[in-house]
């Protein structure tokens, strides 16, 4: 089971570009459609849990599926398979790039790429806002969060913790009143 999961995740990790979300459809095809390790409903639950838990979605999904399919060995295989290609590819690039960095050509190329990277981080915001079903009144939450981090230099960790604590507090008041 270790090798099966390792191999499956290694394939997915090597051939998906665009991060964790891009991996999900491939994981579904491989794990649900082809191998039949878990069913459609459990897969959807898995996505919900992998997103709710902290950490990387790709890694969280590997842990879940590894555990459901092959216990401890499954987890080890899936996580190792999901992380290893990334790790090796980046390591190779980092080693080479450290020597190329000073070349004027490389610097010119990266001058073009840097603003594109910022755009690529910012652009999915539209989609995320839609998926989260944000309204005009709830729009204040991401705005305050972004301003606190950007201009207030508040560590994002505190913003996350504050969100959790304030929400629990407000829901608690509402629940008490309802009873």
């Amino acid at each position: 089971m270790f090798f099966q999961l390792f191999w499956t995740y290694l394939k997915i990790g090597t051939f998906t570009l665009g991060g964790g979300y891009a991996m999900l459809p491939l994981i579904q095809r491989e794990v649900v459609d082809r191998k039949g390790w878990i069913d459609e409903e459990e897969f959807l639950n898995m996505i919900a849990l992998a997103q709710a838990a902290p950490g990387l979605i790709a890694v969280n999904s590997a842990i879940f599926i590894g555990w459901r399919v092959g216990g401890w060995r499954g987890v080890a295989g899936a996580v190792f398979g999901a992380v290893l290609p990334s790790f090796l590819i980046i390591l190779a690039i980092a080693m080479v790039f450290a020597q190329w960095k000073e070349l004027p050509v490389v610097e010119a190329v990266f001058k073009g790429i840097r603003p594109a990277v910022v755009a690529l981080i910012a652009a999915p915001l539209v989609k995320m806002a839609r998926a989260a079903k944000i309204s005009w009144s709830t729009l204040i939450i991401p705005i305050v969060a972004a301003l606190l981090i950007w201009l207030g230099h508040v560590n994002p960790i505190w913003v996350i913790l504050a969100t959790i604590i304030i929400t629990l507090f407000v829901v608690d008041i509402a629940e008490r009143r309802r009873r």
Partner: protein, 187 residues
């Protein structure tokens, strides 16, 4: 000592990083900045490479930052450290899966917290982008033109959905095109 610092930083990032890779970038950014590990420019370049290489962006970024700061063992350490909290938390979730599904499905505390976190995560991603808008990354008007064009093509499939707009919105294609543009403009 740098190893311990690196481990603690990425462990924290793994522990509090809600919302996946893009949201985690803002956490990595903050750790890198507050520890004075590298310049913002170096960080943007790492994010660029993380986006065009296969695999989860968070792992790519952790490996690269770790390597830049402390070499091979730095990259091993930071990658392990970002995965470790997931391992503990996700395994506990798996063990209690059926119980959790019954207990927390429809629980207002749980569901509302998740809903609010989704909003906060949008702010986190926005801040990751905002922090990077600096004279070091946006050197002239051309930078802004590239920014606007890339943003436009990325959002386009949300407005007009067809094969052409889908193709043009691909992040890797856009990064390669921007690199080519940079080569001809800044050479």
């Amino acid at each position: 000592m740098i190893y311990l610092q690196l481990f603690l930083s990425f462990f924290k990032i793994g522990l509090f990083g809600f919302g996946g890779g893009l949201a985690i970038l803002s956490l990595i950014e903050m750790e890198v900045e507050s520890n004075g590990w590298m310049t913002q420019q170096e960080f943007v370049d790492i994010v660029a490479v993380s986006q065009v290489t296969p695999g989860p962006i968070g792992i790519n970024c952790a490996t690269y930052v770790g390597y830049t700061i402390a070499g091979f063992w730095g990259s091993v350490l930071s990658t392990c450290a970002i995965v470790l909290p997931s391992l503990v938390i996700m395994l506990s979730i798996c063990k209690a899966y059926f119980w959790l599904m019954k207990r927390f499905h429809g629980n207002p505390y749980f569901e509302q917290t998740l809903r609010m976190l989704r909003f906060t995560v949008i702010g986190l991603v926005a801040s990751a982008a905002l922090i990077l808008i600096k004279p070091t990354t946006f050197i002239d008007t051309t930078s802004w033109i590239i920014f606007v064009l890339v943003a436009f093509f990325t959002v386009l499939p949300n407005i007009i959905k067809n094969k052409v707009t889908d193709f043009l919105s691909h992040p890797i294609l856009l990064i390669i095109l921007s690199g080519i543009a940079g080569y001809f403009i800044y050479r």
